[in-house]
Symmetry: C2
Subunit: 343 residues, 2 copies
Amino acid sequence: MKKKITLKQIARELEVSISTVSKALKNSREISKDTTEKIQAFAKLYHYKPNNIALSLKSRRTKNIGVIIPDIVHHFFTTVFRGIEQFADTKGYNVIACVSDESFEKEVINMELLANGSIDGFIMALSAETQLKNDFHHLKETIDQGMPLVLFDRVTDEVICDKVVINDFEAAYMAVKKLIDDGRKRIALVTTESYLNVSEKRAQGYYQALKDHNLELDKSLILRLPYQFEDEIMSETFFATTNLDAVLCVNEIFAVRSMRIAQRNGLRIPEDVAFIGFTDGILSKLATPALTSVAQHGERMGEIAARMLIEKIERDDEKELEEETFRTEVIEATLIERESTIN
Amino acid sequence: MKKKITLKQIARELEVSISTVSKALKNSREISKDTTEKIQAFAKLYHYKPNNIALSLKSRRTKNIGVIIPDIVHHFFTTVFRGIEQFADTKGYNVIACVSDESFEKEVINMELLANGSIDGFIMALSAETQLKNDFHHLKETIDQGMPLVLFDRVTDEVICDKVVINDFEAAYMAVKKLIDDGRKRIALVTTESYLNVSEKRAQGYYQALKDHNLELDKSLILRLPYQFEDEIMSETFFATTNLDAVLCVNEIFAVRSMRIAQRNGLRIPEDVAFIGFTDGILSKLATPALTSVAQHGERMGEIAARMLIEKIERDDEKELEEETFRTEVIEATLIERESTIN
DNA sequence: TTGTAGGCGTTATCAC
DNA sequence: GTGATAACGCCTACAA
């Protein structure tokens, strides 16, 4: 087992100084051709590669970015993550992934841990608990220390930083409008408890679309499920007792589960009830019937977030005292029509 | 904006030496109560936290582990990743995630990048291309440099290191046996091209089960799909022209897609055809009918891999020259029965 | 052309 | 009790 070799060891072996080795390996013209060749040959032989940690300590750049997401076994976050990773990779950055598990405390701990030099910037989506508590001191402190931060999807107005979101309001509006245009009158909404920012925006879009088309807002058409629901009793009762002809769900899991229950109750999709979900992951594509779904373009979202972050990181290098400017990029959601609505 | 503060700055402000500050913050009894308190108060005020990079340089420990997986938007790998992340978190380790995207080159590059000091050890599943090329020099070199490595799921006998796998052969055998016990006679296998180690083991289990139950191996019952197949023509033809009464699929996507096609062809599930898949992710649970599936227990796999790795990392600290021993942990797959087979 | 010295932030050893 | 010094691995301005 040959441990990684260092400049110092090469220098000792070849009886030259460390700086000579360092320069030779960078093809500095200061060093004679002879020594350069000798050193490079030796270095190659021993697979010399500079130690990232030492480089980071010196340059104050880790080439790592921290990504904190609420959940990894979740199609949307996973696609965003892939977008981030792919873009980061092209720029020579690595991604440190932390899962907050929807917990405020884990989010805080992870952030503080990483903020102490491990990374050059953060990309994150707020945990459910953080949104519920409305406590963002950890984000503010991080920003305050000069650490770039990009929020995506689960964002908040309380924190001033770069953001990437989709137009949730408009997307929901568009989905409901489609249902109305198809002749649906009793359109239900299946959503989460209300503190989740994105769900709330989608609900607003739903309300507005109804209003604009002179449909009354009927509270009995709204089903609010706990975020991580396993239990299907609430849904079963809802579908058994509610008179409806269309359903908008704020994610694809709710949608597919709801479709199953509706089908079990003898409803035909889309003839009796139309369904539209959010997320457009593999579930939407492979459900029976295939689910019409609002595509959130997670991968692009991740890519844009990573681009924004890396730009900021690398710009910070150049002009130290520039006026900070923050942007919010809005990605247009698109409705992917499949079998669960009438085309 | 207050940049992170360092020991040196605290020392200067308080007009003491750096070492005094360092000791005071560690509650060393060498330092007087007065100075200790003064320093700690100041440090707290400025949110002092030691710089991870500097600590790493000194300790030669990064408290990071590198995870290289072929694909992140993939239920099984995602669950393994979660298992790794969760366990790592409890031990104070962070996870750097790289996606090889099934590419040999990306795998090599990522590995070399991380191996230069960024992490303390690797957990990985081989990319498809790596298995196809059968080239493992990058793994061997990494191990040779004293970097601990744990392979999971997509492993190879060519590399000697810790491994975590499921009993693919037995799991497939068990699944086929169940189908046979249910009275199925013409059991098809939907698998990937053969270079994928795990698919091949599953195929072997399928062969053996047939053989042990005196069923002839009929090549026309085997459908080999390209790994990332989007196109459904091959499957359509297969289901349209093949006489079968059961199907074993090596992953849940193949299974759900196949079920859809079979249903479109007028086959009833499970009456006419029974289906069993591998993976047991959300697709299996929410498919119509719900899919009987071999659970691979990805999360546990990740946890065990992380435990093995961290043990090795931390043992390396202690006894430097101990005889290396490597283990292969086998996780028992379990068959989760649902509606796509007869109970 | 080569080498020395200082510094990145920290800890540990040893001297005062 | 407190501080100076060396070291982790690397880079670079400045000497020689």
